[in-house]
Symmetry: C2
Subunit: 637 residues, 2 copies
């Protein structure tokens, strides 16, 4: 595979010195900062000392090198250890470590983020680094086809997170030997013993049952660590590796070793002095381990037949699909069509889905590009984490499931924003419109959830043409972008080729003497259009705005409409009243200082049950009749 | 333990007839409704037929009987099977099953909810029924001390959800033999084979590694099912039981058996006719299994020593804690104090935490009431699910963790609302105020997320006195209630005994000639008060409102303030701009038709890093200086 510097280049005696340095620097940096997690760093110092000197293949002067291994601190609170490693390899100075850690405006944050070029993904919400690593390992094995490894340091507390087991399940399913989990089993969590303590055997059974090759070691025995990592770094096999290292929290300073009550606490200066003395004093070793050998992408590996799509269709077209005005198509279907066409044009587009691809229509892409599609089964946390990992490798990954089920992965989406990752997410089956399946399948919180994410883009197309344009826009959008699609078919509103810039809107219907503005998106836009038709018959002129871009929203158009219609506005949305389209409109208008507003907000205020979409839109008070009634009241009032 | 009707009361021949009836009725009801999941019901029909006739101890005429067993369909899409069972035991009529299923306004919804008295928790988002069942089993073993069992039907697709493994981990940790998972391993998911297919051995290894007693059977062999359930229903041991049943999707109708492409599809009428014929026609058996024997709560069982708190303090006082005006206390500390006192007064109060109880201060309760505290470790999904299960048994369960980490459980909170459960959640360490730990630990989306939940109550106290009053209010609040607490200490504002009704607010500072209203909550209320002081020195009179009840919000007070101060309002919040306090204020004022508004909304618009709380409040533009500047601009403008 790769030829590397001999593993013996740096001897274990030197590694031991380095481990002491990492401990000392973890203590010094946290004591200096007045906060942080020295004891959680000290337990894993030996693992990291062996790893960076002898096993991790990394060119520290070229972190963007595609063949570099990856290092993820899933236990992000051990950042003092990570930053001490960065000092030890010479990319962070002594001064930065001592003066900047956890300080305002500095890059050595309390938990690592990709502000640092050697950090692939942000961590700090436990149980996410390993699932993110699955995404990177998928890229390495199946897309980049490079022999890099993804080394993930996990704590034992976070092994209680279900997402860890979702990750191992997928790592074994996708046969990812390039994923290596180093579990620092130091027995103690934040407030006491973990649920399994030092029962390494139980951890081993679990990891093995989830398909990993398990190596159990004393995490302070450098030779044992070295041997395990030598085994792990050979990625010729098909299993992910889990190194279970029995460690001692606070290892190296007898006053805190294996003692409860020292989680997340820096040592007071006098204790720090004693600890540093016990550890043999301050050192300033600068050591680097092996660099990766140059490598070219290898051949596409055989994919397990269980997940290879059996029937490949004829090569699809890269021409964006077109839909006729007035002809009905579900926006979820248009999403699938558009993603397929985009996939033809852009080889970096990748798709993932949570076992509902025949509902989200991601299956069109899956059929056409089995090598660029990853089925995540019903594991939405891992779905978003894999999108994050793939994004970290530069792929344009689109993840889809029912919009309601992205609530399962909200923490991962939030962390994706902190990673600065470009996540492209599509949630189908939004709102009461889905009908008979009932409230568990109805996304009624998704717009609020996605709008509140930093830097997010929230899109909500109302027809096929819009969907196609916005899927293309998502491919070019930075940060978290989210598209909400509708289950039922909706008639085409716009001719093919119409432009839909992010942050824009469409004035779908307007006249000289409009008395009221009706605002909708998705299914409610169509209801608003019907309402406008009814109102016209009554002599009330209503303009209708398609707010396909919920965030950023088209403030200018909203202000213009408010001005034109005496501030009379009806917003209707298939979502709970809080934080969705109505909020976006209100925030925009008030933020712009718009006066003389008479805003009626129609949304789903009750708890829906089953029914037809039509019945439920009426029950919720967001159908054409209710929109028209609200408009009448505003105009009459 | 209990004496029951002899298991042989209903013979297996009759059970076989019942199984056929359940299949036929699953087909008839879905074909009649035009949607639903017949094939997912047919695979589990034999399991349910044996269970309800011979093993589930349930008085169908008295679903509220405390000694009843519980039945949870974690695979909620198999609702046709559940409702067919309800017909078979005589609590749902033939007419209701055929005419109402999935119809508007009816109780036989697409996925089961507790609108039906025999359904303990809503399901339909997969991987939640088992974790909810852990909560009920905890109540049964440790609180109610009754010998009921919790039977949970899981699908195989949902075993990919990490939450299932969180649940088994906790079930074995808490030694819950009363939790019995029946896994319907029918191999096929929605769009194809599951990741493990029929690899029952792998499932068995996983379940065993997570501490379960595993019984592997042919899920269509009635004798094997009966034997397994006889083993499972003996709850004398300490392990949860997992029955792995190898089944065939669509079992009983040869045209669809084990065929892909039939998930979630009703049979067309002609196929339904052939299926019913193949199954031997329509039946109308009404059969009931054993009733539970009367039972009194038993003795408190020995708790595993690993999680018993070692040092019990002297009996705490039930008198609500008091804090002095001007003296600093963190609202998270006041939460812990208040919960402890509440626990003394109310034996139905129970607390749970996600391994950060020494940060949320739930540890005060844990120390005082080890028998009413459940450590959920770092598994937030299971944390909320256990709260849901305990709430279903009538306990007032309070769950706490860092506010940021409730994003991990958003799907569970959403489903809790659909269950109609009273979930009491407290999230600490909100916003940039937490300082050095950085953005992964800063809740900046929690208010938006919690406001968007149907029927939720969102509370945000600014001092100790308020916190105490609101914790007591939460104990009396229905639905999902959420309290946001602050990491740092804040000076007391209100004397002990002050009232804080949900939906109210406090006019903390006001005068005759106020020119501007400053609105805050939590840390920003204190910043607003400082700003008002500064403004006073400049001759600008500012009134300050404490919006401790973010939802419902005090619209009347907001309108009055707007009227009094010429519509000039500054809202400051330690949260992203979308969906939080500012949105709540805007929605309320616009919803009330308030005119002449000049609203400045200060919120966290950037991506924070580390720093001190003070530095970060300034950086975000939500500190006293920025509030004062915004007010000046409004007054001058």
């Amino acid at each position: 595979m790769t030829t590397t510097q001999p593993a013996s280049a740096i001897g274990l005696d030197t590694v031991a010195e380095l481990a002491a340095q990492l401990r000392v620097d973890s203590i010094r940096s946290t004591t200096s900062a007045g906060s942080g997690h020295p004891t959680s760093s000290m337990s894993a110092a030996d693992l990291l000392a062996v790893l960076v000197t002898r096993h991790m293949h990394y060119d520290w002067d070229a972190p963007q090198l595609p063949v570099n291994d990856h290092l993820i601190f899933s236990k992000g609170h051990a950042s003092p250890l990570l930053y001490s490693v960065f000092k030890a390899v010479g990319v962070v100075s002594e001064e930065e470590l001592m003066n900047d850690y956890r300080r305002f405006g500095q890059r050595l944050e309390g938990h690592p983020t990709p502000i640092l070029p050697w950090v692939p993904v942000a961590t700090g919400s436990l149980g996410q680094g390993l699932p993110d690593g699955v995404g990177i390992a998928l890229a390495g094995k199946y897309l980049e086809r490079l022999p890099y490894r993804v080394w993930v340091l996990c704590g034992d507390s976070e092994l209680a997170e279900g997402s860890i087991w979702e990750a191992l399940d997928k790592a074994s399913y996708y046969q990812l030997p390039n994923l290596i989990m180093m579990a620092d089993i130091n027995r103690l969590g934040q407030r006491g013993e973990t649920d399994l303590g030092w029962d390494i055997e139980k951890y081993a059974q679990r990891a093995a049952a989830f398909g990993a090759r398990v190596l159990t070691i004393d995490g302070h025995d450098l030779t044992a660590i070295d041997t395990a990592m030598t085994t792990a770094e050979d990625i010729a096999g098909s299993q992910p590796t889990v190194i279970l290292a029995r460690t001692i929290k606070g290892r190296g300073f007898s006053e805190v070793e294996n003692k409860n009550g020292w989680h997340g606490k820096p040592l007071p200066p006098d204790m720090a002095d004693r600890a540093i003395a016990e550890l043999g004093g301050v050192r300033n070793l600068v050591l680097r381990g092996p660099k990766p050998a140059p490598a070219e992408p290898g051949p596409v590996p055989d994919m397990p037949t269980t997940w290879r799509q059996p029937d490949l269709p004829a090569k699809p077209s890269g021409t964006p699909p077109e839909y006729e005005v007035g002809v009905k198509v579900a926006t979820r279907k248009a999403y699938g069509d558009a993603l397929l066409a985009l996939g033809v044009r852009d080889e970096r587009v990748v798709a993932l889905d949570g076992e509902v691809s025949n509902s989200t229509f991601a299956d069109e892409f899956a059929q056409a590009f089995p090598g660029r599609y990853f089925e995540m089964f019903i594991a939405e946390q891992q779905l978003v984490a894999a999108v994050t990992g793939l994004a970290a490798r530069g792929y344009r990954a689109f993840g889809s499931t029912f919009a309601a089920f992205f609530t399962r992965a909200y923490d991962f989406i939030r962390m994706g924003a902190i990673s600065g990752a470009d996540l492209r997410l599509c949630g189908s089956h939004a709102g009461v419109e889905i009908g008979a399946d009932g409230p568990s399948q109805m996304a009624l919180e998704d717009l609020a959830m996605m709008r509140a994410i930093h830097g997010s883009t929230v899109l909500y197309p109302s027809d096929g043409t819009t969907t196609v344009a916005l899927v293309d826009a998502m491919a070019r959008t930075q940060g978290i972008s989210y598209m909400r699609t509708t289950r039922g078919s909706l008639p085409g509103l716009y001719p093919a080729g119409e432009q839909f810039p992010v942050g824009g809107s469409k004035l779908v219907r307007s006249g000289e003497n409009d008395q009221v503005t009706l605002i909708g998106a998705g299914v409610t836009l169509h209801e608003a259009l019907s309402a406008a038709e009814v109102l016209q018959g009554e002599g009330i002129a209503a303009r209708v705005i398609d707010c396909y871009s919920v965030k950023p929203i088209d403030t200018q158009a909203l202000v213009a409409a408010a001005e034109a219609t005496g501030g009379r506005i009806v917003v209707a949305e298939d979502h709970h009243p809080e934080g969705g389209l109505g909020s976006a409109v209100a925030d925009a208008l008030l933020g712009a200082g718009q006066q003389n507003l008479h805003l009626t907000h129609l949304a789903v205020t009750g708890m829906p049950g089953s029914g037809t979409g039509e019945e439920l839109l009426a029950w919720a008070g967001i159908d054409a009749d209710h929109i028209a009634a609200a408009a009448r009241k505003l105009v009459g009032g």
